[in-house]
């Protein structure tokens, strides 16, 4: 399906053009930067919405709006892009979060122009990752996100920003190195098998890769993505980066950047290396479960609320990975929708933490207390987002977690059960934090005079809240678009490996772990 107008190119390049525009603004007109950049970032959103509108849900498995321009024949690299059901949602998520997080950056005063330019370039990178169907192009966008984010953390971050920025950069770059090796090796394999190098995803799908090679390639891709996700034990860059980044950085980091990892796993690992996927699935699911519990447990005792939310991401992303490697349609669908959900709720939590930080300049939970009385609206929104994050049914988080748990139970009952305990832990860490920050009497005089959310902040939060409710109550439109794409991947794995994705309604011998029970 070729669209006459290169709408994807438009989508991806708009922010870059915007960056140039912002870059040309006179430095003295600092007050113009925020509104102009926000306005610019609305353009990709408009395009993304147009794409969503035009997207054919029935063909969700196919890449739509695809564009293909060969760039360098000897390497088989070109501008190959397209959007399927999986990428569609992530694109919309990206396009939604950017205007909001830019709008939330009013407190940036240092070098505003560079900040805005970085944000817009970051957006190009992220959108590019989700549309790229050429592995090298994917990698370019994948890496392109690093530098702006590095600058965001390093220049506008707090406290230990340099350490966090460098750690973020190096850690993820380490993964990228393996990824690049894998990508090139794939192209070389294509060259060996078909006589020409190519990085085009859809051509590479035709490769017949030996099991042994699959294992190594899977590892190369997998470690890169696992670091990005981040999967336990590759997660330690995340708390630092999240915590030190400015609000917008944290939002994008949690909301979109982490999804590069899970997206990559779904898009590439599962499809390109089906055999290895089946082999590794239990291990990755196991790590995911460890991450779920570990991230949650660590989150409980964090004294810093931003770190707490950061560790909650480790836990939540564990769910996504678990769902992905359950290799069941339900689990994978849950994983994909959960990417969006996590982006919204955790993004919102970071926004909220940022808003309170702007008022008090502290992230220590112990510095707060009794805020619900001082800023009830803020407390309400925070609690709302917390519950969305906890996975309260009726809000978005539940849909994904529920599907993931049901789907992964089919494949890994014990792990699914362990993962379900993350649901309990989530309630503990978020509600305990809420309790300490918002309830009780106002003990610290500095908190007494805090102003509640203003109109700008509400403008930021309300759209997210609406989406949270919408996706919680009526997720069907989203799921309808994901499902064909996911089915397609599962079928591919089944065809390639003879692995049978477990079906519902089939009774297994019960694992011992389900014997736990009565009080």
């Amino acid at each position: 399906m070729h669209s006459a107008f290169p709408v994807i190119a438009l989508l991806v390049l708009l922010p870059t053009v915007g960056a140039v525009v912002v870059g040309l603004l006179p430095k003295s007109r600092r007050e113009l930067m925020l509104p102009i950049t926000t306005a610019i970032s609305m353009l990709p959103l408009a395009v993304a919405l147009y794409i969503m509108w035009e997207f054919s849900a029935a063909d969700g498995a196919a890449f739509q709006f695809s564009e293909s321009v060969a760039w360098y024949e000897p390497w088989g690299i070109g501008w190959n892009v397209g959007i399927d059901g999986i990428s569609l949602l992530l694109i919309v998520l990206t396009a939604v979060l950017f205007p909001l997080s830019i709008l939330a950056s009013a407190s940036i005063t240092k070098d505003v122009k560079l900040f805005m330019v970085s944000m817009l370039l970051l957006e190009t990178g992220l959108l590019g990752v989700f549309v790229a169907l050429d592995l090298l192009l994917f990698f370019v966008f994948f890496e392109m996100t690093l530098v702006p984010m590095y600058l965001l953390i390093g220049i506008w971050g707090s406290g230990n920003r340099v350490y966090a920025a460098v750690k973020f950069f190096l850690y993820t770059a380490f993964g990228s190195a393996l990824l690049l090796t894998g990508i090139i090796a794939l192209a070389v394999l294509h060259g060996n098998e078909f006589g020409s190098l190519t990085f085009a995803f859809q051509d590479l799908l035709n490769l017949s890769i030996s099991s042994n090679a699959q294992i190594w390639l899977f590892l190369g891709f997998g470690i890169a993505f696992a670091i990005k996700v981040p999967l336990f034990p590759f997660h330690t860059w995340l708390p630092d980066a999240h915590t030190e980044a400015p609000t917008a950085g944290s939002v994008i980091l949690a909301g979109v950047l982490l999804k590069l990892g899970t997206y990559g796993l779904v898009r590439f690992n599962l499809t390109l290396f089906p055999e290895a996927t089946v082999d590794f699935a239990p291990w990755l699911a196991g790590l995911a479960v460890v991450g779920i519990i570990y991230g949650a447990a660590v989150a409980i005792v964090q004294p810093d609320v931003k770190r707490l939310v950061a560790y909650s991401s480790v836990s939540h992303l564990g769910f996504i990975v678990l769902g992905t490697f359950a290799l069941t349609s339900q689990g994978l669908q849950g994983g994909v929708i959960q990417m969006v959900n996590h982006g919204l709720t955790t993004g919102a939590l970071f926004l909220l933490v940022g808003m309170i930080y702007e008022r008090r300049h502290t992230r220590q939970i112990s510095d707060y207390g009794g805020l619900a009385g001082v800023m009830p609206l803020f407390a309400g929104v925070f609690l709302f987002m917390a519950f969305a994050s906890i996975g309260l049914p009726g809000l978005n988080g539940f849909i994904g977690e529920f599907k993931i748990l049901l789907g992964s139970y089919l494949a890994f009952p014990v792990m699914a059960i362990l993962a379900a305990s993350g649901v309990v832990l989530a309630a503990i860490y978020l509600l305990w934090a809420y309790e300490r920050m918002f309830t009780g009497p106002v003990t610290n005089a500095a908190n007494a005079g805090l102003k509640d959310l203003n109109a700008r902040e509400l403008t930021i939060l309300v759209p997210i809240a609406l989406l949270v409710v919408l996706l919680g109550i009526y997720p069907k439109p989203a799921l309808d678009r994901i499902e064909p794409a996911v089915e397609n991947i599962i079928e591919r794995i089944e065809e390639a490996t003879g692995h049978e994705s477990p079906e519902f309604g089939r009774i297994d011998d019960l694992p011992a772990a389900t014997g736990e029970n009565s009080p």
Binding site: K167, L170, Q302, P393, K403, Y409, A427, L431, P519
Partner: protein, 624 residues
């Protein structure tokens, strides 16, 4: 009709949304009126919609609203059958009364509007819970009532204890939900569906005994969390931090009975596993007895009622566990009446005592709050199992059914009887300490009767407590007939023969009377004051179970989390990362010593390289 059923849920929801966004503007008492009206109308609608079932035989209908998670076959669908109709009536009926009561009770509270917002949210959620036609919607309601409960318990969030209690309630409930979730996974795995219809109808053919047991027990974990059974009951006493109407509505009449409702609803699964049934009954019996003993030692009037609620829920579990589903549900209904009444009465007393909840500072209130006193007496007799008040009928039906199962169940019956005696004792103790004897009020407290908006609901509930038991008497089991369509898949336990029934009834009445009498002697005749010290303190602290949990679960858990966060994560996992960086740096530092600045050592390096390359190349190329 479908629309009617939709409206039953939609009205409280609309009320919730209206209050959420405009609650502040509507203010007091408008918010209360809005909330009460929506719930009240829902009740009326439910009456209309449920009228059909009175004819009997009507199976009900499902109301499809929209596709929710289509790929799981989960839709937003309501099931309107006798059981859900009955539950709806209880929820909206008692709910409406408590709403009205709250208008008076919450008068002047700055969070007036917020209170009713949450209350309507609760009613909505509870209706979702009982009306859902599949486990999905049930779970949505299940969690949302947890949320409303959380919000309402920590309604006075400035009080740290209230905030902590709310969190505790939610978290403990979540532990139960953990079991519930796993049960759902198992069910889905087995049936490929979460629809009541397909699950219950296919259960017998699909499930092995092992799976059925697993599912049933896991459901029990969920139910035990919500319905405050052993060992997950600990949140309920603390939940009394919430405003009293909340305790009445949520923590006595409705939400906590969700577990009972769930077990009753899934009776078809429990039927398949005798083990599970026995476990449920045992848990119920133990909880009933255990909580009753603790109730004896409480000083706080609401905590007495809280433990009483736990105990009574134990009865209900005995009922549903022994597959006396009707009995369990029957007790759920009557308990909703008299326990709501007791709570509201207690609220009225507290209101009268200007917020005092310690029975040690009450006494002699009979004359001061006559309406409250009178209505509470009815509830007291009802819960003590004295015929013909409501509690007698339902409790007796449960006990008789349990007895009729024979075998080990007879022991559990015995526990039930002892508990009945204890119940009569602690309730009497509460009544005597509150209303009889000399006033022990604090200075400046001038008890006064509550306003009309509070007493009217009391009277209404008193009426229901008095005669509510008559809806299902052994000789005229109207409720049983009414519910039959809902339970037709389940082979229920029957009541014993009439003679046995009479004998059993006599025993339980005797137990109740004995309990009453002992209490009377102790607290009225001897005028014993509130006991302190020794074992009473143990009872007062609920056998120190909170401490125990604190020391065996919470503290080690937190310690483990601390270790993970600050040792494992910071030192080990992150240490490995930073260590790598450090190692590289260190290696660079060490190596750079090789760069001596001496040209001759550089030359040596080159010569070494020459030899190295030669060796490598000759070995590789076979030059040797």
């Amino acid at each position: 009709m479908d629309f009617l059923i939709f409206l039953i849920v939609a009205l409280p929801l609309a009320g919730f949304l209206e209050l959420l966004f405009f609650g502040k503007r509507i203010g007091e008492p408008g918010a209360g009126y809005v909330a009460s009206a929506t719930v009240g109308i829902s009740f009326v609608l439910a009456l209309i919609a449920g009228f059909d079932f009175l004819q009997g035989g009507e199976h009900g209908r499902t109301v499809e609203l929209f596709a929710w998670i289509p790929s799981l076959g989960l839709n937003a669908t309501f099931l309107w059958d006798p059981l859900s109709a009955m539950m709806t009536l209880v929820v909206t009926g008692v709910g409406a009364l408590i709403h009205i009561y709250s208008i008076g009770y919450m008068h002047g509270d700055p969070g007036f509007g917020r209170f009713f917002t949450y209350m309507n949210l609760f009613i909505t959620s509870m209706l979702l819970l009982v009306l859902g036609a599949n486990f999905g919607i049930l779970f949505v309601g299940w969690e949302l009532v947890g949320l409303s409960s959380y919000l309402l318990i920590s309604f006075w969030f400035e009080k740290p204890s209230a905030a902590a209690a709310g969190k505790k309630a939610f978290v403990v409930n979540r532990i139960g939900d953990f079991g519930f979730l796993i049960a759902l996974m198992l069910i889905f795995n087995s049936f490929g569906s979460l629809d009541y219809g397909s699950v219950f109808e296919g259960a017998e053919a699909t499930l092995t005994a092992g799976t059925a047991t697993a599912i049933a027990l896991l459901l029990l974990v969920g139910a035990a969390g919500k319905s405050a059974q052993l060992p997950l009951y600990v949140w309920l006493p603390d939940a009394m931090e919430g405003p009293t109407p909340v305790s009445a509505l949520i923590h006595a009449a409705t939400m906590v009975t969700a577990g009972v409702y769930m077990v009753a609803r899934t009776g078809a699964l429990f039927e398949l596993s005798s083990v599970a049934g026995a476990v449920v009954t045992t848990v119920g019996a133990l909880t009933a007895f255990y909580a009753a003993t603790i109730a004896i030692g409480q000083r706080d009037i609401k905590r007495v009622l809280a433990y009483s609620t736990i105990s009574q829920l134990g009865y209900m579990f005995m009922g549903v566990g022994a597959l006396a589903l009707v009995g369990g549900v029957f007790h759920l209904v009557t308990h909703a009446f008299f326990k709501a009444l007791l709570f509201l009465g207690a609220g009225s007393v507290i209101h009268a005592m200007a917020g005092e909840q310690d029975m040690g500072k009450m006494g002699g209130l009979r004359k001061k709050v006559p309406v409250t006193f009178a209505t509470m007496v009815i509830a007291w007799i009802a819960i003590s199992g004295i015929p013909p008040f409501a509690g007698f009928w339902s409790k007796d039906e449960i006990l008789a059914s349990v007895f009729n199962r024979g075998g080990g169940y007879i022991v559990l019956w015995g526990v039930g009887i002892v508990t009945a005696g204890l119940t009569a004792f602690y309730m009497s103790r509460m009544m005597f300490l509150t209303f009889w004897g000399e006033p022990r009020w604090d200075d400046g407290v001038v008890p006064h009767e509550s306003p009309r908006s509070m007493t009217v609901p009391l009277l209404a509930l008193a009426g229901l407590s008095a005669v509510g038991g008559l809806i299902n008497t052994p000789w005229r089991p109207a409720l049983e007939h009414f519910l039959e369509p809902s339970f037709e898949l389940v082979d229920q336990t029957h009541l014993p023969e009439a003679g046995v029934q009479v004998a059993l009834a006599a025993v339980s009445i005797a137990a109740g009377v004995i309990g009453l009498f002992i209490a009377y002697r102790r607290y009225v005749r001897r005028a014993t004051q509130l006991e302190e010290g020794g074992r009473w303190d143990t009872l007062l602290a609920g056998y120190h179970v909170d401490d125990l949990y604190g020391r065996t679960i919470v503290a080690p858990g937190k310690a483990a989390a601390d270790v993970m966060a600050f040792t494992a994560d910071a030192k080990l996992v992150d240490g490995a990362v930073n260590g790598t960086g450090w190692l590289v740096n260190w290696a660079g530092g060490i190596l750079s010593k090789l760069q001596t600045g001496l040209v001759r050592s550089y030359g040596l390096g080159i010569l070494g390289g020459v030899v190295g390359v030669l060796v490598w190349l000759l070995v590789a190329g076979g030059g040797f």
